[in-house]
Symmetry: C2
Subunit: 601 residues, 2 copies
Amino acid sequence: MAADTLINDFELPFQLYDVLDAESLCESSKFAEHNRGTFDAVLDTANKIATDLFLPHNHVADKNEPQFDGKKVSMIEDVKVAFDAFRDSGFIAGRYSFDDGGMQLPETLMTAVTGYFMAANPATTAYPFLTTAAINVLAHFASNDIKNAFMPRMLTGEFTGTMALTEPHAGSSLADIRTTAVKQADGSYRVKGSKIYISGGDHELSDNIVHLVLAKVPGGPSGVKGISLFVVPKYRLNEDGSVGIRNDVHLTGLLHKLGYRGTTSTALSFGDDNECYGYLVGEEHFGLRYMFKMMNEARIAVGFGAAMIGYRGYQYSLAYAKDRLQGRIAPNNKPEHDATAIINHGDVKRMLLAQKAYSEGGISLCLYGSNLIDRINTCEDETLKSELSELLDLLTPVLKAWPSEYGPKANDLGIQVLGGAGYTREYFAEQFWRDNRLNPIHEGTNGVQALDLSFRKLWQNDGLGIQILKREITKDLESINTPESAQLVAKQLPYMEHLHEVLVHLSKTLQTEKVITLTGNAQALMNIFASIVVSWIWIRQASKAEQLLGTTNDIEKQNFYQGKMQAAKYFIDWELPTIKRDIELLMNDNSICTDMQADWF
Amino acid sequence: MAADTLINDFELPFQLYDVLDAESLCESSKFAEHNRGTFDAVLDTANKIATDLFLPHNHVADKNEPQFDGKKVSMIEDVKVAFDAFRDSGFIAGRYSFDDGGMQLPETLMTAVTGYFMAANPATTAYPFLTTAAINVLAHFASNDIKNAFMPRMLTGEFTGTMALTEPHAGSSLADIRTTAVKQADGSYRVKGSKIYISGGDHELSDNIVHLVLAKVPGGPSGVKGISLFVVPKYRLNEDGSVGIRNDVHLTGLLHKLGYRGTTSTALSFGDDNECYGYLVGEEHFGLRYMFKMMNEARIAVGFGAAMIGYRGYQYSLAYAKDRLQGRIAPNNKPEHDATAIINHGDVKRMLLAQKAYSEGGISLCLYGSNLIDRINTCEDETLKSELSELLDLLTPVLKAWPSEYGPKANDLGIQVLGGAGYTREYFAEQFWRDNRLNPIHEGTNGVQALDLSFRKLWQNDGLGIQILKREITKDLESINTPESAQLVAKQLPYMEHLHEVLVHLSKTLQTEKVITLTGNAQALMNIFASIVVSWIWIRQASKAEQLLGTTNDIEKQNFYQGKMQAAKYFIDWELPTIKRDIELLMNDNSICTDMQADWF
């Protein structure tokens, strides 16, 4: 693979067409205008723009992060050039209907499209992606007035979007936000408060920035039930819709991040002069519910991005391992023998296989999640639709947390494959590692995801989600009739039993005072659940690869399929068994963590 | 603990006096001049210098790394001030005899001394530490002429030292170095070649830099058997010993590292004008053997440093977790209840406990290793002496690799505890993480350590090392009569059996063609072996803490002991069982990694 190849040419077609049968989406009326030809054209365009305009400045932007002179934010020119090309491609509106000026493409395909950009340059990619996420909320929940005012120019990228949730004193704890919004006679609100870690919160890439701001309307319920959602534009709009004067929202400073440096991370102040106009989205006090709709899809995007950064680090270290000559292997291990490429050493293979298993596992997992959204959106059977929605809801914490836990692990191994070179900034392995470190933190920390899974998602609607998941897994596994994949199934099934036992046990624990132990063991439960899900995702890939292996004489394709099968075997033998520890902890209601007292540290 | 407290006041006294009984070393003639009073005075001095002069510029030096203008290397002034204070303290010669102008202190104590400096500022600390390491080689292997010429001024820090092993084309593969040394009529050599990643390879902190350079004398054996060791000073010495003209060794450039930025990492060119004078250490072709003597002790230092950086990140995130209010805990989880410090959340406790287990486990492990050196050096029974040397040899890869694998994991969790703040450079958690990422790479990558353990150390001298280790562990565990620690022993013993089974199995595998699988599974064997060793190290701490718990009414001490016991329980329940996966892999001679073909990736 050449150094500027972002994704192996076989990878996305395999995931989309072989594993997911994404072409079948074109049978639905929604996607009837599309076919594999149009899908491929879209992917090619994405690949080209990402390769030509996003990739070249990925490291330049890291070394030259945005600056704030007290008035304006400046950044290297390349970001604007790339952003404009993304705008012009129409990708911001890719998911939207032809009527809205969009391409009416499935979520599955749009997720694949984002893969090229995340691999090439996650920091620049954040600007259009945040805009897409904000549009998503407005499209679902805003009044027509608000939609008409902002959405068309967001869909073209003339306006960009942000999500302004976090406040300096309240990170994960949204119940405690203090930003207020007071209703005025004209129906608009005046917003006042401070937000922090707002990505894309200021820049000069677009004509306007549309902040989606969580705030409390005085007199509302306390806690999360009193949170409302507002559109707060950087510039107010004139009567005719043109961009007007500055709204009273100001950048108080840029945060200096460890990675992802090309994306501005901002502290924003709203209403210093009591003139910050905000427009209510939907109804008062429903803000968090609206925001979660967006966050759930943003969570898949975070997981997929983490997998892609992991994948990029994998490919980077793979190219190095093929090129770097060092050491010898028996029986050719005399000094007079030539040195071998390090990829031939067993421990280097282990590090590369792990990277492959983590990153391609994450990619496949998140594409499954995206495909689920399409299945839900095109489903005509209401029962099935709600079942699949329940499944998506159950999987969302996994789609976010697993790739964002293992993508960074892949990047860590990528550094290790390079050795000393990996520790220098003259090579790029370290940037992937720094960039990806964000993903376990934002869009709900992985700790929050584990709690969401352990205390809510596994149990809601009487555990309907897990029933549907078992049905999906069983359907796949029972259909497997290729010998090597069948062996993987045989190894995986006992863990399905263990999961069942753990859940039966926990359903009792939750009724006792031992429930507290689960706050300390939630990560262990996430490990169990996510590892079982990803092992299934890997078996799906392996069985498809095994089927296809005999159908081609193309040696490169054969190698690709062999690699898929080997990575699945690696996952089943090396990764899945690590959850034995977690199963034991949960079956015993292990209380080591929650017994620990703050004063004992 | 105040923000500028480097190490909990109870920690080192507990490790040194309670766990290791370091005072008993004073019964030997070598350390007869010392007692706990002199030890404590030395520790206090180290703590004071580290806190006052090393800590304040740790982050400043990271943000302002050394610069090379083509002639000289410049760096912030604080480094020189700190280095000079370290020199003046006499610590460089701390291990050396009173006759050599040293303090004749045990290795155990000197390792503890380094703890303060590594916690405060690992990058600045590297300069004197590398000097100590270089002295160590000269003291053991150099001729009196060389010793007299260089050692006294290295012991005072007027001269500093480096280890110049790695070459651009040969990292871990020292057999392939190309630097040559040609003998001259006067007995000196002319050195020619290139070295890379030489820490402290140039700077203006000292009057001279003494490079210890691996090179090949033409006509010698091929491979590692043809490597010799040379002293190559930056400045040649005049007849009278005074510093003379520049030697023909030049800085070709600084490497720009991901972390540890305060330490210059250099590319050096030797003999561009064929005038690079080098002086043979010991005999020709024995260079690697000499260097390994130094490297083995350097490996303990790397492990201990990794544990200390991990410890610092733990303390930093602990202080944050006690201070940061967020969320609520049932039954006080209504919006009107006050927010709680995040240290009270189960998942945060888990992350802090893991950090504690990793960092204090590493500290205790490496102090055990240092103490072993003292036991060897003061041992009058030759049989015991060689047994303990064998044990040290066996443990060396673990002393290096385990803390440098888990120290960075602690720093990763440290970032996670801080959440969004942890991802910004406004907080320091990220620097600890970047600094510590070096440690799995240098002084033999952790992959090399795993191979060293798997193919050499476990088997040499008919497995004498492992026999001695079992004897040491059994002696400790059988003496435990406190109830909670006895439970830990009961959980640990089955793993000792498993280790035995694995080794019996591998002794057979090594005789078959399946031996190749062990190159892919070496890391799994390291996991098993290291986890069992560290579980013993934790049980030693727990049982001592349990003994002492009842002997004091001091609530702070009681808390400290409780914390030790809880961290040991955490290690036994949460960390040790992860090796079940590894045991299975090895017992099956799992071949997933080595079966993987380069073309399949």
